[in-house]
């Protein structure tokens, strides 16, 4: 039997109410969404909040919409919802690829997009996927709202720029034509966290890569992204050699942790291979066979 330490429970009814409750408890309150990262941590006493502020009833935090050339994904959107959304899959196949291999169907019914990126676990798949897409995070505080590029959102493992009095409202992904995306993950068994995972998004003008995003999960990439490989690719023509070199560069610049999922050299090899293959798949989906 595993039971969390004692806490008080509050249920927020709106974004404003949630922010007000965060202010009221002044750092002692912690938001809970799906609870599928936080509750296990509380059972293990890795987290011990005095007050839980439940945001599951905040309707404003839900929903997927397309507004002003952006895809908006509410923080409270469940994994299952993102997985099942056909417009999302058509605009950004990387997101359906990723959701298919996050945890299992029952966990996906409960876990949320916002909880995933706010957890900032170095193995979180959506953090890599949305970073590859250069998403923005909308962060609400008592007085102001900030819009933060997701690439500046992660401070370190389990740490983000969301302050104690703030909450994540939604993620916004700019919709641009002429590109596609893909996500590939290697794990030890179905439903498990990644040994390594890579998301890639490319935009092409003919053969030339005009913009690219590469996100890495569980591979020790700073802020989940492979900036050096992106810089190398931008402006180059797509070829097997070029995509192979991008994989090599990404692997060189990441620092995979040694753990029960494998040694560093293996994971580095995985980083190179997955980056190249994810780029290939994204290019193929964008209509450019490599």
């Amino acid at each position: 039997m595993q039971v969390p330490a004692q806490f008080e429970y509050e249920r927020a009814t709106s974004i404003a109410h949630a922010v007000q409750l965060l202010g009221k408890y002044n750092g002692a309150g912690r938001l809970i969404a799906g609870g599928h990262s936080l509750i296990p941590m509380m059972k293990l006493r890795l987290a011990r909040p005095e007050v839980l502020i439940d945001i599951n009833e905040v309707a404003e935090l839900g929903g997927i919409s397309r507004v002003d050339g952006e895809l908006r994904v509410g923080a409270l959107v469940r994994h299952t919802e993102l997985l099942d959304d056909d417009e999302v899959a058509q605009l950004f196949p990387i997101l359906r690829d990723a959701e298919k291999v996050i945890a299992d169907p029952i966990v996906r019914n409960r876990g949320t997009v916002g909880g995933s990126v706010c957890q900032a676990d170095p193995s979180e798949d959506l953090s890599a996927a949305f970073s590859a897409l250069r998403a923005y995070a909308v962060v609400q505080g008592a007085e102001t709202q900030r819009i933060v590029p997701l690439r500046d959102f992660f401070v370190g493992p389990y740490e983000t720029v969301v302050g104690p009095g703030e909450l994540l409202v939604e993620l916004r992904v700019p919709v641009r034509t002429g590109g596609s995306s893909a996500f590939l993950k290697v794990s030890r068994r179905a439903g498990d966290w990644a040994v390594g995972a890579v998301g890639a998004a490319v935009w092409l003008d003919g053969d030339v890569i005009t913009e690219v995003g590469i996100g890495l999960s569980a591979l020790g990439a700073r802020n989940f992204v492979a900036v050096e490989a992106e810089d190398f690719l931008r402006g180059r023509s797509v070829s097997a050699d070029v995509l192979g070199e991008a994989g090599r560069i990404a692997a060189e610049h990441c620092d995979p942790p040694v753990d029960q999922r494998g040694p560093a050299d293996y994971k580095r090899h995985l980083a190179a291979t997955l980056v190249t293959r994810a780029l290939q798949l994204a290019c193929r989906r964008a209509g450019r066979e490599v």
Binding site: M1, F7, Y9, H36, L52, D54, D104, P105
Partner: protein, 159 residues
């Protein structure tokens, strides 16, 4: 704190500590011990119940989160002494051995068939992929769900 939860159509009001998990609330407060606890870490799926119509792992949901909501457990499957087709399928196809994983499997199977009355084997395997069975090797569970699908559609199920 006070919570009111509708479980299998019946309203229950209880005073609980906020830290009580839904699975323990069902078992200890309401004596609905059909819901099992295996891992207590959201990995095995023995604790799957429906929360507002959606299967969740109740070891990782606070009872407080179910306040004002509807929960459905394995105890609700049999109606008026008649077993649900998925339960009958598990009997016919030997889908349960020790029976520990069975309540969770049944709740997920019922949910799947409500959405997809004719699921492929692959779809069934995907649906139960977050649930562990130490006994059957899953073959008979998949067969049991197929059995339920076939007989339910033909409306051939008897008690």
């Amino acid at each position: 704190m006070e919570i009111t939860v509708t479980v299998n159509g019946q309203q229950h009001r209880r005073s609980i500590e906020p830290r009580v998990l839904l699975a323990y609330f069902l078992r200890d407060e309401l004596s609905l011990t059909g819901t099992h606890l295996g891992c207590d870490t959201s990995n095995c799926g023995a604790c799957v119940v429906w929360l507002d119509g959606v299967p969740v792992k109740s070891c990782t949901v606070l009872a407080a989160m179910a306040d004002g909501k509807e929960v459905r457990t394995v105890e609700s499957l049999a109606q008026n002494g008649k077993l649900d087709p998925v339960q009958q399928g598990f009997i016919r196809c030997h889908g349960a051995q020790c029976g520990f994983c069975t309540p969770g499997m049944l709740m997920t199977a019922r949910w799947l068939l409500d959405r997809d009355p004719n699921p492929s084997e692959e779809r069934i395997r995907e649906a139960i992929s977050g649930q562990l069975c130490r006994c059957t090797g899953y073959e008979n569970i998949v067969r049991a769900v197929r059995w339920a699908a076939e007989h339910e559609r033909r409306d051939e199920v008897t008690s």
